[in-house]
């Protein structure tokens, strides 16, 4: 796993500028557009200033996108076009170690980047609770699950174009039915159970509670949901990669 990280670090030194730019600017634009665009209409949502509500919600969407996309595309490209994993598996490295290396790298990188919206929100008057220091823990955990989901998805799709189905059919609903831009209480009743099986919803809740005050029992449940999600995705990602790489 350290070897996999070694490569990622070497690669990261090349693309950190563009990658950091995208990861920080994109949520900031969302934040400004929704926070101020809607904020001027809405004012307060679920007891929070709308700009604060969105500022915390955008943390979760940033976590989703900066983990699931590298999980899907990087692993797909490295496996099918670059054949990188064939070389790695000829060394004393097993499939689960490749998956652990890739997923943990993405999770840490994504988890750290996803905290950027909090910093931006601070500049716009967010006054967080001390719990805010726990946010990176929740984002890394969520990112690990979604990175593994992406890796698994990359082993399921027949071609790189098929990711469109996953992006539109799976990720877009996840992203909207999570209480990021509006609270799920605003959704019809039938949509509530869907939100509860959405890992992103649990991430949104945790981040918001970390910033505005924990609800210990509920938050334990949210952490549990994210752990179960990551564990299930780990199992599927390792199995999928093994099927694709070892014949």
């Amino acid at each position: 796993m350290r070897g996999v990280w070694r490569r990622e670090l070497a690669l990261f030194r090349r693309y950190w500028a563009s990658s950091s730019f995208a990861s920080i600017i994109e949520p900031t634009i969302y934040l400004l557009a929704f926070g101020f665009g809607f904020g001027s209409l809405v004012g307060h949502v679920a007891g929070y200033r709308y700009v604060d509500f969105v500022g915390t919600g955008v943390v979760a969407t940033a976590t989703l996108f900066t983990s699931v996309f590298p999980g899907m595309f990087n692993t797909y490209i490295r496996r099918t076009y670059q054949h990188s994993y064939d070389a790695v598996l000829a060394a004393p490295v097993d499939v689960h170690e490749v998956v652990a290396g890739e997923a943990s790298w993405i999770a840490v990188k994504s988890g750290v980047y996803s905290c950027a919206p909090i910093l931006v929100s601070l500049a716009f008057g967010l006054r967080p609770d001390i719990g805010v220091i726990a946010v990176p823990i929740f984002t890394v955990l969520t990112a690990a699950g979604f990175a593994l989901f992406g890796i698994w998805a990359s082993t399921v799709v027949p071609s790189i174009n098929s990711f469109d189905y996953i992006i539109s059919g799976v990720l877009a609903p996840l992203f909207l039915v999570a209480g990021t831009f509006f609270p799920i209480s605003g959704l019809p009743h039938w949509a509530h159970p869907i939100a509860h099986v959405n890992p992103l919803y649990h991430c949104v809740e945790l981040v918001r509670h970390a910033v505005f005050g924990f609800h210990p029992l509920a938050d334990l449940g949210h952490v549990g949901a994210l752990v179960v999600f990551a564990a299930l995705m780990w199992f599927l990602a390792v199995r999928g990669m093994r099927r694709r790489l070892i014949d």
């Binding site: 350290r2 070897g3 070389a87 000829a90």
Partner: protein
């Protein structure tokens, strides 16, 4: 024994459900310190054999042992001791030559303190010291190939698997790589090299195994194989198609093997041509006399047509 395969079978299931054996009862031994050339036409099962040795492909039947480790059970230990140079170029394009080697030094668990020395040594073997800081995608085809070899050597393995090391390269680059492989062999490393270039095997291999349809059909040193299957001398007869058929008929009736070599017919074991046969063969057409080579053996054993 560095490599031992016994009665190994590997089947793939086709899209329409039919089962194809890529490796079909393969038995092969590679003694320590030997450079063994695995020869065979495309599709003979050479690459599958290589993947079986690293447990990237799992055999359906048979026994595999690499450097004393049972495969696939102890594949990880075996992989730590061997280097693999793949047929497809899978360098990290965006990393420099040095970084590519550093990554694999880590993957091969070279102790941290020894990484630098190991990388320098590998760069030197591959004559890439001067290009250490060039990105892989800026290197020429030949340099990339040498870097691939260096990557397989960065942990000083006892055994190296080379899968078609010079396929698609310029003659100069091939000669360069041959020098590199000969150097490896001289340093006592065991080498298993698959190739369909006969010349490559003749130059580099101590011993050859000819594969066809997933099994080994002949083994021996290049000289032994030539002596056993093609004899000493070859006569190549030119002529009209009718004349070629006639030469074939005459030679075969005398018990001599023949093969078509493009526009000519080669009569193998020409040293056994009797004076009377020589008379009937000689009718003024152009005849080229040459030494028998491994290509003659190859075609004799794997057939004239490629399927």
């Amino acid at each position: 024994m560095a490599i031992l395969l016994r009665d190994v079978v590997k089947r793939y299931t086709d899209r329409d459900g039919t089962s194809i054996a890529a490796v079909d009862g393969l038995t092969l031994e590679v003694p320590d310190g030997v450079c063994l050339g695995l020869l065979g036409p495309n599709g003979a099962g050479k690459s599958t054999t290589m993947r079986l040795l690293t447990a990237q492909s799992r055999a359906d039947e048979g026994m595999i042992n690499v450097l004393g480790h049972a495969i696939p059970r102890e594949a990880k230990q075996a992989r730590a001791l061997m280097g693999v140079v793949p047929q497809t170029d899978n360098l990290d394009e965006e990393l420099t030559a040095r970084q590519n080697l550093e990554v694999f030094a880590r993957l091969y668990r070279v102790p941290r303190a020894g990484v630098r020395a190991a990388v320098d040594r590998a760069l030197e073997i591959a004559h890439l010291t001067g290009r250490a800081d060039a990105r892989a995608d800026k290197l020429s085809g030949g340099m990339r190939r040498r870097l691939l070899v260096a990557r397989g050597l960065v942990h000083s393995p006892r055994l190296v698997l080379l899968d078609e090391p010079t396929v698609g390269l310029d003659p100069q680059v091939r000669a360069d790589l041959w020098g590199l492989i000969a150097g490896l062999r001289a340093s006592g490393v065991t080498v298993l090299m698959s190739t369909h270039y006969i010349e490559e095997a003749e130059r580099l291999a101590d011993s050859c195994a000819l594969m066809s349809h997933g099994k080994v059909i002949a083994t021996g040193s290049p000289a032994e194989l030539i002596a056993d299957h093609a004899g000493d001398r070859v006569e190549e007869h030119e002529g009209s198609p009718e004349r070629l058929a006639e030469v074939e008929g005459l030679a075969r009736r005398a018990g001599l093997p023949t093969r078509r070599t493009g526009p000519t017919v080669s009569v193998l074991r020409a040293e056994r041509i009797s004076p009377s046969l020589a008379d009937s063969l000689a009718n003024g057409d152009r005849v080229v006399r040459r030494a028998a080579n491994l290509e003659d053996v190859f075609v004799m054993l794997t057939g004239e047509t490629v399927d």
